[in-house]
């Protein structure tokens, strides 16, 4: 997490309705070791952890704000800025690499102009490079949310982007 990203997270801080976060904290408040479940539920609910929600959690659970930030940056599962509706994961592990993952990655970038961990301005797509998706037989491999696409080609990238761009955002 670079300083720039943190700043970006701050800038994107629109008015956040904390009612959902408060309800989650209410649910877990008496559970010992409640920080992780609260953070996970808040992320599920908002799609990421807004800074104001982190501040609220710190105050209500009586945990240092710094400590929460330490947890948030330690685990890859937590996100500090809004994420896209569709998470595109492109495998760049060994098997996919030798099968041309680099070109798949570049093609996504040329179409969406988002690099690793970045999110499109309309919050439709988030792009991630991952080290292995565990299906090397299907290399090169990509995933969009829970859908898996094996034996990827440059052409298939076009199709995938077109397919998910057509789905209306709620």
């Amino acid at each position: 997490m670079s300083k720039a990203v943190a700043q970006q997270a701050e800038e994107q801080e629109v008015i956040i309705d904390l009612a959902k976060a408060n309800a989650i904290i209410d649910k877990y408040i008496d559970l010992p070791g409640n920080l992780m479940p609260v953070l996970q539920a808040v992320q599920d609910s908002y799609g990421y952890i807004p800074q104001v929600a982190a501040d609220l959690i710190a105050e209500r659970l009586n945990v240092y704000p710094s400590q929460i930030y330490g947890v948030l940056t330690f685990y890859a599962q937590f996100h500090l800025k809004p994420r896209g509706r569709f998470i595109i994961r492109v495998c760049v592990g060994t098997a996919c690499h030798v099968q041309g993952a680099q070109r798949i990655k570049e093609t996504f970038f040329n179409l969406l102009h988002i690099a690793h961990t970045e999110t499109s301005a309309d919050l439709r797509f988030t792009f991630e490079e991952v080290a292995c998706l565990g299906a090397c037989g299907m290399a090169p491999l990509a995933m969009v949310n829970d859908d898996t696409y094996g034996k990827m080609t440059v052409q298939k990238v076009d199709e995938i982007v077109a397919k998910y761009s057509a789905i209306p955002l709620d």
Binding site: M1, K3, A6, Q51, Y64, S66, Y69, G70, T73
Partner: protein, 824 residues
């Protein structure tokens, strides 16, 4: 004790020691970066690796491995040395080698270890860190490029300070230390993190590029701010105190300091120090000389009798206060007092009646030995931060139960399982009495309590303190009062702490009596880890009372002296170091009284608001320039010695009073040592003390407690005035009295007064943070910036009292609660 062998040497060590501790106490040095004796073992740096015969083939961290019987340890085999060299090589790979401009140079653990292990080359190649340096605050510079990730700063801020400003951010090779969301440091600025940093990552900015570490002379002293009595090491060069130096072996507090102690030293060499005596001529203060100034004063004093009065600051040494008293008696007056009179009433009136002595029986060392701490007013943290650290450690590390009775939440309220009962302002005395009633009703009282003098009358008076009735008056529930009373009574060892001081007027003596009654009835006196500890405000508040520098036998107390000045019955007033215009209640009244005073003498370090009104101003010395003794709040008597030569023509108050005694025809004692000998001969509890017996850490003056119950008075609850907010005054964390205004560090962080209010009130009145609000009371009106916090209950506002530029006594009349209207 267990037996083990370290480097072929048979040694013994306590059962719960680590290998590192066992080696250290037996004089064997194991290198380390991440260990601090005050913190829990961490095992991050891998410098302390050793080999253990019984765990052959592995390299074991000495700092986290407990010893076992018969353990055979090797601390410096060739393999171990090689491993340590590798650790250093890896650390130096990313650490910038900017030692020539690093303020840590010469005092740096990494530098010293690199030298010890002769790591003069590196087999690896990598780029240096490129972190941005945090210059966002004026006191602490954070340069994460130099960081070795030992985590000491993170841990001390959590384990001891309890603030938690810092954390490990990210993981793996990208890990760094920082604040939430990469913000700049915004904390208490106690500098504990700076003190334990083994490298130059955390530095005191006021000391940057001032001097190389090795060029400083280290002078031991005692902090001149609050009553805790922390030991200090001053770093001195060219007759200037340039910094405070951390010494983990110093004092009961192991070198821990608060923002005032660590960063408040600049007043000593301030450009604003008075350097020459001033005499008012033709309405203007003009430079004069000591002969003239003292001659004028002596002529005013000679035979003046009760027309002369004195007010001193409890920052003077015991010897100075005793000499001042002698001088006044020679002039024929008993009208002398300190700390506005009421600030010492808990000791000089309250404890005199409850304990038959002017002191509380417990010491700061009892805090960590207790089972339950009952803290009255969360302000205890702000008034005495290092005592606050002791409370933090007791609760966090020793599992001591913390109960708080306060008019607002505070930092202590956030400690694990701490319970804060927030009562309506000014009602703590009634609650304590109700607790005593509960203890008696529930047969929780100590068995021998009926033998304590005054029991029958006390029992009778408690009839008027039914918990139900008191609870209603005080905004609590009767159940809460009962629970608090029974957990206090049932605790094996329980200690009550409460702060007093000029910002807490109204009922100090009654509070001391109520606390003492409670401790007596529950049988909490005379046991280690138990009892009562009154936290007095200034570095020698306890000493000033012990020296008897207050009004007795019908003499005028400080506020009566002020009234006497206004009425014209006091014609000459000698104020030594006190600044009543700022720190006494009712600004307009004090100003009028000082205006009325025919002749006003002020001895001071600075041209304070009060000094500016004087007819003669004498430049006197700070604690760093004088010799004598001071008595901390728990009656620890400590010896201070000059760390630097006197500034300009300033003289110590001792020299001033001695010269005046001479001029009044008396024989002045030659040295503070001779006065201390007199104190040791005459003052109860100080018997047999001598400078050499005091040593570096001082000696506790014995407190001879003869408990007696004091009948509590029924007090009417402060009735809220409709549409008004209850203003309580107090101490801000960064300040102590009015002196800290001249310490640059505290002023960098907290430069002006403010009014703190609840979110609910702020929302209802549509105030936002930093709005300039007009605060009006029956005695006046002033403007203060708003601070909106979650700790304040609705209807209560808080303002600190230290600031001369815009003193809160413009609206504060000296009652425990001042009713104010607040508008934007």
């Amino acid at each position: 004790m267990l037996n083990l062998t370290i480097d072929g040497k048979q040694v013994t060590a306590p059962k719960d020691s680590t290998i590192y501790d066992a080696a250290r106490i037996n004089g064997i040095k194991i290198p380390i970066l991440c260990h601090d004796k005050k913190l829990k073992p961490f095992g991050a740096c891998r410098m302390c690796l050793v080999e253990v015969e019984q765990m052959k083939g592995r390299q074991i961290p000495a700092c986290t491995t407990p010893i076992t019987e018969g353990m055979i340890v090797q601390t410096a085999t060739p393999e171990i040395v090689k491993a340590r060299e590798l650790v250093l090589e890896l650390l130096l790979l990313n650490h910038p080698l900017d030692c020539p401009v690093c303020d840590k140079g010469g005092d740096c653990d990494l530098q010293n270890l690199t030298y010890d292990y002769k790591v003069d080359s590196n087999r690896f190649l990598d780029s240096k860190f490129q972190h941005e340096i945090d210059y966002n605050n004026p006191l602490i510079e954070r340069d994460m490029n130099r960081c070795v990730l030992c985590g000491k700063c993170v841990r001390i801020c959590d384990e001891i300070v309890g603030f938690g400003a810092l954390t490990f951010i990210d993981r793996g090779i990208e890990t760094k230390i920082g604040c939430e969301f990469e913000k700049g440091l915004n904390c208490e600025f106690c500098g504990s993190c700076v003190s334990v940093c083994p490298v130059g990552s955390l530095l005191a900015r006021p000391f940057k590029f001032k001097a190389r570490f090795w060029s400083l002379t280290k002078q031991k002293s005692v902090c001149g701010y609050c009553g805790t009595g922390c030991n200090l090491t001053l770093g001195v060069k060219d007759n200037k105190v340039l910094t405070t130096i951390y010494d983990e072996n110093q004092g009961f507090h192991n070198g821990q300091l608060c923002v005032r102690g660590r960063f408040g030293y600049q007043f000593i060499n301030s450009e604003k120090r008075l350097t020459k005596p001033l005499v008012r001529k033709n309405g203007k203060l003009e430079e004069s000389n000591w002969d003239e100034a003292l001659e004028i004063i002596a002529s005013r004093m000679k035979g003046a009798g009760a027309e002369v009065a004195a007010i001193a600051t409890p920052r003077l040494t015991n010897e100075e206060l005793l000499l001042f008293k002698k001088m006044m008696i020679m002039a024929g007056s008993n009208n002398y007092d300190h700390a506005a009179g009421y600030a010492h009433a808990a000791l000089s009136d309250g404890f005199v009646r409850s304990f038959g002595t002017t002191a509380a029986p417990s010491t700061i060392l009892d805090i960590q030995k207790s089972d339950l701490l009952l803290v009255i007013k969360t302000d205890s943290y702000e008034t005495h931060p290092v005592i606050g650290f002791e409370i933090n450690m007791a609760v966090k590390n020793k599992g001591v139960t913390l109960k708080i009775l306060s008019d607002k939440q505070g930092k202590l309220s956030r400690l694990p399982d701490a319970r804060t009962l927030v009562h309506s302002p000014g009602s703590e005395v009634a609650i304590l009495n109700a607790m005593a009633r509960v203890i008696l009703d529930n047969k929780l009282a100590d068995g021998s309590v009926t033998d304590v003098p005054g029991f029958a009358n006390f029992e009778k008076a408690l009839a008027g303190f039914a918990p139900e009735a008191i609870a209603e008056q005080c905004g609590l529930s009767a159940v809460d009062i009962k629970l608090l009373a029974s957990s206090y009574a049932r605790a094996e060892k329980a200690l009550i702490l409460f702060p007093v001081g000029q910002a807490y007027p109204g009922h100090n003596a009654a509070l001391a009596n109520a606390v003492a009654n409670l401790a007596i009835i529950a049988g909490k006196l005379g046991k280690e880890g138990s009892g009562v500890l009154c936290l007095s405000e200034k570095n020698n508040s306890q000493g000033a009372v012990d020296m008897g520098f207050y009004a007795v036998d019908g003499a005028l107390d400080a506020l009566q002296i002020i009234d006497g000045c206004a009425a014209g019955s006091i014609k000459t007033l000698f104020i030594a170091g006190e600044n009543p215009l700022v720190s006494y209640p009712d600004h307009a009244k004090i100003k009028a009284a000082l205006d009325q005073t025919e002749f006003l003498i002020v001895s001071e370090l600075f041209m304070t608001e009060t000094a500016a009104m004087a007819d003669v101003v004498l430049p006197v010395c700070s604690f760093a320039e004088k010799e004598g003794t001071v008595t901390a709040t728990d009656r620890r008597v400590q010896h201070i010695k000059p760390a630097i030569k006197k500034i300009g023509q300033s003289r110590t108050d001792f020299e001033v009073f001695a010269a005046l005694i001479d001029k009044l025809g008396g024989i002045a004692p030659a040295t503070p040592a001779s006065v201390f000998a007199e104190i040791a001969a005459n003052v109860p509890g100080y018997a047999d003390m001598s400078y050499s017996a005091l040593g570096d850490e001082g000696v506790f003056a014995a407190v001879d407690v003869k408990p007696a119950f004091v009948v509590p008075q029924q007090t009417a609850a402060a009735s809220p005035e409709s549409g008004k907010l209850a203003l309580v005054t107090g101490s801000a964390l960064y300040h102590n009295g009015t002196l800290s205004q001249y310490g640059e560090g505290p002023m960098h962080v907290c430069p002006e007064g403010y009014i703190e209010l609840s979110r609910a009130d702020a929302a209802a009145l549509k105030f936002a943070e930093n709005d300039l609000l007009t605060v009006t009371s029956a005695s006046g009106s002033m403007k203060l910036k708003a601070r909106v916090t979650s700790r304040m209950p609705q209807g209560l506002v808080f303002a600190p009292y230290h600031f001369g530029a815009n003193p809160v006594n413009q609206v504060w009349s000296g009652s425990p609660v001042t009713w104010v209207t607040v508008v934007k």
